[in-house]
């Protein structure tokens, strides 16, 4: 436990003493703010247009469907690109910088290293996502979005982001080159995004498998406000699988 904290804390510090954390956080919130501003503006215009029509029912329009849901979806795409950039260093940099030799000649288990690094990468992502809570916060002041729906959507986005972190750490453990690490995890994540495309034409079994494999489909369910244990189990399994693969990757590198 002490080793996990030591490793995680060092990684977190190293991100925050360099400009990395600030650039990533600023960029993420800036993009989020742009999405939010535009979606809210569009919602406003549509509402004004319809409410000008006599006898038109506008009760079907709500902030959750018009602002929060698209905002979360857009953020999920940004995360898909940003997370590999924040995780590419985690193992690759230690490997190329020679500090791997320090880690693996210290009385520290590979599991502790893997979990410590995973927690450090997760911490940054947690901060990124929490900063965007300001947008639903603004909505609750000036409007009345359904809080449960917001919470479920945010939980989905958070789980998705942690799953991305697990993939990013895995590819970082495979190589000493950070660009290769970032590129490979981007490819894996994009493939996961589109893995359900052939589902339309596939047979019933394959279709079910493909849809179930797609991380984004599980996120979509949660973003719609459906909190299903199956989705949570999916993300937990996904993350555990990639942590295990990371462990294997780190171990196997020493045997070569």
């Amino acid at each position: 436990m002490r080793n996990i904290v030591a490793i995680a804390w060092r990684d977190i510090r190293s991100v925050f003493v360099s400009p990395i954390a600030y650039v990533v956080l600023t960029g993420f919130v800036l993009l989020g703010g742009w999405f939010f501003f535009n979606m809210l503006g569009q919602f406003n215009r549509t509402l004004e247009m319809y409410s000008g029509m006599q006898g038109y029912d506008t009760t079907w329009m709500n902030l959750n469907d018009a602002v929060i849901s698209p905002l979360l979806h857009n953020l999920s795409i940004v995360l898909l690109i940003v997370v590999p950039m924040t995780t590419m260093r985690s193992f690759a940099e230690e490997r190329s910088g020679g500090t791997y030799e320090l880690l693996f000649t210290s009385p520290v288990r590979v599991t502790e290293i893997v979990i410590g690094k995973f927690l450090a990468s997760t911490a940054l992502v947690t901060l990124m996502i929490s900063l965007t809570l300001i947008f639903p916060g603004i909505l609750t002041i000036y409007g009345n979005p359904e809080i449960g729906l917001v919470a479920s959507g945010y939980l989905g986005l958070y789980m998705l982001a942690i799953a991305y972190v697990a993939v990013g750490n895995f590819t970082s453990a495979l190589t000493s080159n950070q660009i290769i690490a970032a590129m490979s995890s981007l490819v894996i994540l994009l493939l996961l995004l589109v893995i359900s495309w052939p589902a339309e034409s596939a047979g019933p079994v394959l279709k079910a498998v493909l849809v179930h494999l797609s991380a984004v489909d599980h996120f979509n369910t949660m973003a719609r406000g459906v909190l299903d244990t199956r989705d949570l189990v999916y993300f937990a399994t996904f993350i555990a699988t990639f942590l295990f693969l990371t462990h294997r990757a780190v171990e196997s590198a020493r045997w070569k």
């Binding site: 002490r2 080793n3 030591a6 490793i7 060092r10 510090r13 190293s14 003493v17 360099s18 910088g97 020679g98 500090t99 791997y100 030799e101 320090l102 880690l103 693996f104 000649t105 210290s106 009385p107 520290v108 020493r254 045997w255 070569k256």
Partner: protein, 258 residues
């Protein structure tokens, strides 16, 4: 203290060390000599538990490096060929981090840090970033991290490589001081370094041990350099006495620290 038995380490089909055996007694300083690519670093990486052996065993203080890896790691301080520094960390913070990793108890970390900072002469740079240090200071911080948990065994991979002559003398003095109370394995290709610091020498060439001997008996037979060249090339040095004298003088001039 260190017992290497028929150790073989292969990278794929390439065997970096083949069936080597040697031992280092407690409190002894052993110089590990050999040309580049002879297998020095590989051997040290196996001794420190960084990578497992393909076959053969290594025991440190009676513990097998593979089976009882953590017991061995607690007893070994290791300075790899390039010091394992986190360049964005301050020296103090870095040493505290290493102390935590090495399992130094929370209350003892401060003392351990101050002890190695004093021992390695790091007072002036303690609050600077590792990445801003000169090569000599980086090497010292590397030594400091190897010493932080007060290990009984020190494994140093080419500790003076790439340093200027004044730095070489400093680091060498430092190591000599450390070697009085610890078991040391030191790899180098600077011959006088071994003669100055070590009681024992192991010469390795192309993955095999070609000589294992006490420095004392070796220097009685002839110069270490002759033995080295003989072992590495597998034949007698062909220099005449006059040529050798001339070469010795030249070497002394080239290496002011010799």
């Amino acid at each position: 203290m260190i017992e290497v038995k028929s150790l073989t380490k292969a990278y794929g089909s390439l065997a970096a060390v083949k069936d080597i055996s040697f031992s280092v007694a407690t409190g002894e300083a052993c110089g590990f000599l050999g040309p580049n690519g002879a297998g020095k670093t590989t051997t040290m990486r196996v001794i420190t538990g960084y990578m497992p052996a393909t076959s053969g065993t290594v025991a440190v203080d009676g513990f097998d490096v593979f089976e009882q890896s953590f017991e061995v790691r607690r007893r070994i301080g290791y300075l790899p060929e390039s010091p394992p520094l986190y360049l964005e960390m301050r020296v103090i913070k870095y040493l505290e981090h290493v102390a935590r990793l090495k399992g130094v108890s929370r209350s003892a970390i401060g003392d351990a840090r101050d002890r190695v900072i004093a021992a390695c002469g790091l007072d002036d740079v303690a609050t600077r970033l590792c990445g801003h240090l000169s090569k000599g200071y980086r090497q010292r911080v590397g030594l400091a991290q190897a010493l932080i948990h007060d290990p009984a065994v020190l494994v140093l991979d080419e500790p003076t490589i790439g340093l200027d002559p004044a730095q070489i003398i400093e680091i060498r003095e430092l190591i000599r001081g450390l070697a009085t109370e610890r078991t040391v394995v030191l790899s180098t290709h600077i011959l006088p370094e071994v003669a100055e610091i070590c009681q024992k020498v192991v010469i390795i060439n192309a993955g095999r041990i070609v000589l294992e001997s006490d420095i004392a008996s070796l220097t009685a037979d002839g110069s270490l350099e002759d033995e080295y060249l003989k072992s590495v090339s597998g034949e007698q040095p062909s220099l005449t006495d006059d040529e050798r004298d001339a070469k010795d003088k030249k070497d002394k001039k080239d290496a002011p620290n010799a």
